[in-house]
Structure formats: structure tokens, C-alpha cells
């Protein structure tokens, strides 16, 4: 096992015969083969989109994977056609970041309180949160939320979107944090209490470091929803400059005016790339947190 690990580390073949090497490392080879198969499944459709974005129009409408003629003008088309794209992208980043941050704070506080402070009515709150996941509010939620936002004067406000966005995943976020805090032994918290720490200090110094894993999950759940949200944004905003990216994109693909496929593919690449770059950096922080988050006590 240790040798296999070493091999992985080096990534080079040792001076062994191929057959012998394979025999020694069969588990590692199979494992990486399976992992890479999944990776290919994830990446292949996206590679196809990348190729689509540089196909000429006639080639876009042929099944053949490799185009007869390349056409790189589609990217230019996108920027001239959606002048507001940088603003929309910024709106998306702003709304998503704020939503993720606020929801996470709410969820951590609530999850901690529900498990370790055991408030009166706690189980009722949990039951309500759980039940809310299954209510068909879709029929009326868009109208109800429109009314609330209208009352608050937040129609057509990009910042105003944050409020309903927070609620989209609030219930599940609280439930996630609750189950994460349940994993932390109550005795640990009691120990902090005996040491004279208040509930806030206990959360900050003992609870939070141990709940990092849950934070990652809550972050991602909220990121995915807020980043891709469409219906609320299209209903609650009027100006192209106030809207987030998915709404502006949907306009490009829907309706009679749907764009030629390669141009849509170019939008795809333009939109997804910053997300991937952002995540490449963000994931380091995430997983560093994860690695250190293992129980130290």
C-alpha cells in the first residue's frame, strides 16, 4: 500500500517489469481507471460544447463530431449582441456570494442552536423546516414573493433578489448544519462550558472548526441554486442591467429568436469558464478546511 502511494506520488514507473508492476498495483490501476472513466463522462459533453462553439453554422447542424470548417466569429457575436453580459456576470457573482454567505451564517447559527442549545420549540422548528421542503409553493410562491418584494419596494433591485434567494435553500441548509452539529459530541460542548466559554465562544472556538465539512456542503448547495436561479430573477427584475446571467442567457436560447447553436455554445464557454476558474481557487480553501477539520480532540 505504501509503495503504491509512493508510485502515485511520483507518477513514474519504477524499474520493474510491466507485468510485475501491474500485479503489485492492480488495485491502484483499477481505481484510477474507474475514476478517470467518470471524469471522462463529466468532461466529454463539455468538450463537445467547446467544439460546437467554433463550428461553422452548417457543421453545427450535422451530427459529425469534427467540423469541415471552423468559425471563430461566434465569440465576437456574443459580446456585441449581449452588451450587458459583463454586468450580468457581475450581478450573478454578487447575488450568489451574498446569498451563500448570509445563508451559511443563518444555517450555522440555527443548526448549532437546535442541537446544542436545545431551545424550546426546537423540534417544531425542525419539523416545519422539513415539511416546507415538500410544499407545492410553486403555484403561489412566485406571486407571493412578487407581492412581498413589491411591498418592500425591491422590484427591479439586484440586491433585493438576495432575500428570496436566501430562503430557497435555507431549510435544507439548516438541516444539514443540524446533522453536522449532531456529530459533535455534546460532552465537548459541555467541556467548553465548564471552561467558562459562552455559547458564542463555544460555537466559534469548538463548534465551527468541527463543522467545516458541513460548511462546504452548505456552500455548494447554495452556490448551485443561486448561481443558476432563473424564475425569480426574471419575474422580479425589469432592466437587463439588473438581471443575472441565467436570465439573459435563457433569452438567447428560448423563443422564436433562439440563437444559432454555435453562438449559444460560445455563450456557454464564456459563462462557464469564470465559474471553473473561481472554483479551482475556492476548492483549495474548501479542502484545506476539510483536511484540518478532522477531530483534534
Amino acid at each position: 500500500m505504501a509503495r503504491a502511494a509512493q508510485l502515485e506520488e511520483l507518477g513514474t514507473a519504477p524499474p520493474l517489469s510491466a507485468g510485475e508492476w501491474l500485479r503489485l498495483n492492480r488495485a491502484v490501476v483499477i481505481r484510477h481507471a474507474v475514476i478517470n472513466l467518470f471524469m471522462v463522462i463529466i468532461l466529454l459533453p463539455l468538450a463537445w460544447v467547446l467544439l460546437m462553439s467554433v463550428k461553422s453554422l452548417p457543421d453545427a447542424m450535422r451530427g459529425n463530431l469534427w467540423p469541415r470548417r471552423f468559425d471563430f466569429t461566434h465569440y465576437g457575436f456574443v459580446f456585441t449582441k449581449i452588451e450587458t453580459l459583463p454586468i450580468n456576470l457581475f450581478n450573478s457573482i454578487y447575488v450568489t456570494a451574498a446569498t451563500v454567505l448570509i445563508t451559511t451564517i443563518c444555517a450555522v447559527l440555527a443548526g448549532y442552536a437546535l442541537v446544542h442549545l436545545r431551545p424550546r420549540g426546537g423540534p417544531f422548528v425542525v419539523a416545519m423546516l422539513l415539511a416546507s421542503l415538500y410544499f407545492p409553493t410553486r403555484v403561489v410562491s412566485i406571486i407571493s414573493i412578487y407581492e412581498i418584494q413589491s411591498f418592500l419596494g425591491l422590484i427591479n433591485s439586484t440586491s433585493g433578489l438576495i432575500l428570496p434567494y436566501i430562503t430557497l435553500n435555507l431549510a435544507i441548509s439548516v438541516l444539514i448544519m443540524r446533522s453536522v452539529f449532531q456529530l459533535i459530541p455534546h460532552e465537548l460542548m459541555e467541556a467548553a462550558k465548564i471552561d467558562g466559554a459562552g455559547p458564542w465562544r463555544t460555537l466559534w472556538l469548538v463548534g465551527l472548526p468541527m463543522a467545516r465539512n458541513g460548511l462546504v456542503v452548505v456552500f455548494i448547495v447554495n452556490f448551485v441554486t443561486a448561481w443558476g436561479e432563473f424564475l425569480l430573477c426574471t419575474t422580479l427584475t425589469n432592466d437587463q442591467t439588473a438581471r443575472t446571467m441565467p436570465v439573459v442567457l435563457a433569452g438567447a436560447q428560448g423563443g422564436l429568436g433562439q440563437w444559432a447553436w454555435p453562438r449559444l455554445a460560445a455563450v456557454y464557454v464564456i459563462v462557464v469558464t469564470p465559474g471553473i476558474i473561481a472554483f479551482t481557487f475556492a476548492q483549495k480553501l474548501f479542502f484545506k478546511g476539510l483536511a484540518e477539520g478532522v477531530v483534534k480532540a
Binding site: 453554422l57 452548417p58 453545427a60 447542424m61 450535422r62 457575436f77 449582441k81 454586468i87 412566485i142 406571486i143 412578487y146 407581492e147 413589491s150 411591498f151 418592500l152 419596494g153 425591491l154 422590484i155 427591479n156 433591485s157 439586484t158 440586491s159 433585493g160 432563473f230 426574471t234 419575474t235 422580479l236 427584475t237 425589469n238 432592466d239 437587463q240 442591467t241 439588473a242 436570465v247 435563457a250 433569452g251 438567447a252 436560447q253 428560448g254 423563443g255 422564436l256 429568436g257 433562439q258 440563437w259 444559432a260
Partner: protein, 458 residues
Amino acid sequence: MTRRTEQELLLRRLWRERLLRGEIDRRTFLTNSLVAGLGMAGVGVAAKYGIGSALAQDRPLTPTYYQWIVDLHPSIPQVNAQFPGINAQIAPVEGFGIERFVAEAKNGESTWDVYVGQTPFVEMSAMIAADVIEPWDPYIPKDVLDDMIPSIRAENTIDGKLYGWPFLLDVIGMGWHSGITNKAGLPDTPPATWDEYLANAKAVVDSGAAPFGATFDAHGWRSLAPMTHSLDPNVYTADGLFDFTSDQAIEALMLMKKIMALSHPDILLAGASDGGVNGTPDEVAFAAQRVGYYTKYFNAPLRMAQYWDDPGELHLAPQPKFTGGAGSTVFWTTGCALFKHGKNKEKVAEYIRALTYDPQIWQDSIAGTATGHPGQLPPYKSIYAAWDASPPDWMPPFVGLVRSQLDQARAITNHIFGLQQFVIGQPYWETYLKGEEPDPRAAMQKVVEAVQAEIKRG
């Protein structure tokens, strides 16, 4: 971005005036200005003093467009430039939803003055029922009203009142790919009757010029209704519903089945956008140059031909007719709806007049631009008359053909179920098309029953 700043400035000016007039105290003025500057900072205050109502008093002309219209007609901004201060927006109506309009009307308000994107048989009845829109009659100039092609004016009129100001005309016609049909040894003259159409489509398949001969859009208002109209357009019941069990409709249904035998197998499947209504399989097959003949509104073949190796191989003609039939078809306009609670109504009429008569928009629509080729036509007699008098060099022949067919063409009758009757009925008449039900009349009877059941519920 600039637009929003302007709005904020406007608000601030308004409040300053109110402060000077002594209507509000200094503190309210400050908080209100803060709200305008900071958006959500003073949420409660905004609610109390009403940003919305303040804006409505002196807001600029505010039209809102269905996205595709702006995408397909790149000259609209030039019309907007003639109206300084205009605040043109994109409407939140993805998938043809009008929820936001209705919700605002219930509060007795409207963010916009006019909606450009209303199709009468699709949503006009609902907009009227929900008290969202009001008639144009007090605002539209008489010469414009008289200039409308009569069938189009009738389409936009309910109870004698004009609820839609027509803009873009779509007519169901025919297109074909001459690269394919020539290969099959067919001439470049359009098939005039459905029998010829079927024979030509069969020749395409038999010769191997393309895998499929002909296609249509399976949505009833784009195939069943126009094919029925080609035999006889008077197929509406006294209630204003499509008469599915009429002999004409049955004949059209049987025609659809004959075309299907020469078409791609996925023809009946739902489309890939707007609730299955757009991005339909027929479009992809035509764009992929796999089918010879196509009947749909002209925008579809024109838009799909941009994917061809040679878009010049597209030919357009009126929809074929049944031998001895009326030779009619279906048309609809997409036009403008006047919000009851909107503002600037005289100004709106001025704007829509400029928009719908703009020569550049029509040239772009008919001749095409780098970004699109909608092929949508104007609703006014005078425009066609001017073209007849001195034909522009960019004028393709199909426009004249369509114009002449328009005198026989008929819109689908306005009804709250105008569009929905076809959505509800489609699975039932498709039992015949799929061969599950051998009797077309029995299938159509089920359609009528299903539509009636839904109407009775309300």
C-alpha cells in the same frame, strides 16, 4: 447601467420638488434619497412612501418587449433613438407567461406602458379577462386604423374594440430546399395542391435525395389549423372554438398522416424550449438538410436555412391547397398591448406608429441581416401598395404571394382556450396519427370531449 442612474436622478429631483413644496419633511426627503441611491438600504421607508407611485408620475415612455422580437429585428433601437428618454425593456414573459402583468394589474399598477409581444389568439383574451390591457381606440389615429389589412384588424378586435395594435405578421406557408428537390429531379415551381406536394415529397424519398420528404410542426395551430383552412377557413363553432369534428378538420388530419409517412419519425415530439412549443424536431430536420418540403410560418424555414451550406437554396411559396379547396391558411400577428395602468398613453401611440411603419425594420425583416432573417411582414395596406408601385431591389418574390393569400387567410378565433384547445387536444388526435386509433373521427370526438371537460371545470 446609465439607465438606472437616470431613474435615480429622476426620483431625487421629484423628492426635492416635494420637499420645496412642503409636502414632505426634510427627514423623509433624506431617507427617500438614500433609498434611491442605495436600493435596499431603506427597505421599509420605500414601502411607506412608495417608490413605484413616485416613479409612475413622471416616468419616461416605457415599452417592454418579448425578447425574440428584439433579437430578430435589430433596427428597433433606431426607432427608440427618435424618442429621447425612452426606457425600453425586456419583458419577464419567458415561455409566454403573463403572470407578472396580471399580478401588477391586480395592484392597479404597471411598470410598463406597452407590451410588444402579444399574439391575439394566444393571450389577448386572458389579458382582457384579467383587466391588464385596455383598447387602443381612443389613442390610435384613424388613418392607421383604416390602413390595417381588414383580416388583421378583425383578428385584433374583440367586441368591436381594438385590443392589439398589430406589428409583425406571420403566415403559414411553404418552404423547400432546392438542393434536395433538384437532386430528386423536381422543378423549382411550387406544388400547388397537397397531392402534388405529397408526390414531390415521395420523389425526394424515393430518389434518395434526402432521407425525408416533407415535414410540419405538430402543434395544432401550426399544422392542423392551417391545413384545415386550406380546405375551408370557416371551421369555428358558435362559441369561437375550432371545430375539430368538422369534415374539413378530419380531412386535414388525414393529410397530416399521409405527410408523416414521408417524414422523420420524431415529428410528433415536443420541442426543446418554451414548454415544448419551440425548438421543434421539424426545424432541426430542415436545418440539417434532411427534408425537402416544409410547411410552417415563414420565419421557420428562413431561420433554419441559415444553417445550410447555401441558404440561397431556400424557396418559399404559399401553403398548398386541396383540389377544389379555398386555398386559405392561418396567420397571426404579434403586436402591442396597451397596459390599462400604464402611463404616457398618447406618447405610446406615437411610438407604436413609428415602430410599425419603420421602413428599415421591414427591409431587415424581409431581406434579412447579418444577425437574422425573421421573414415577418407588415400589417398595413399602404406599405404593400408602395412596394407594388415601385418594387425595392431587395424584395423577394414570396412577399407578393403571401400578400395575395392574405385576403383568404384567417386567424384562429380569439377565445380564452384559443391556443389551449390545441394543446389539450393534441394527444387525442395523435392517437390517429400514431395508428392507435384507426378512425380519425373517433379521435377528433375525443378531442372535443377533452376540451369541453376542461372548459366546464372553470
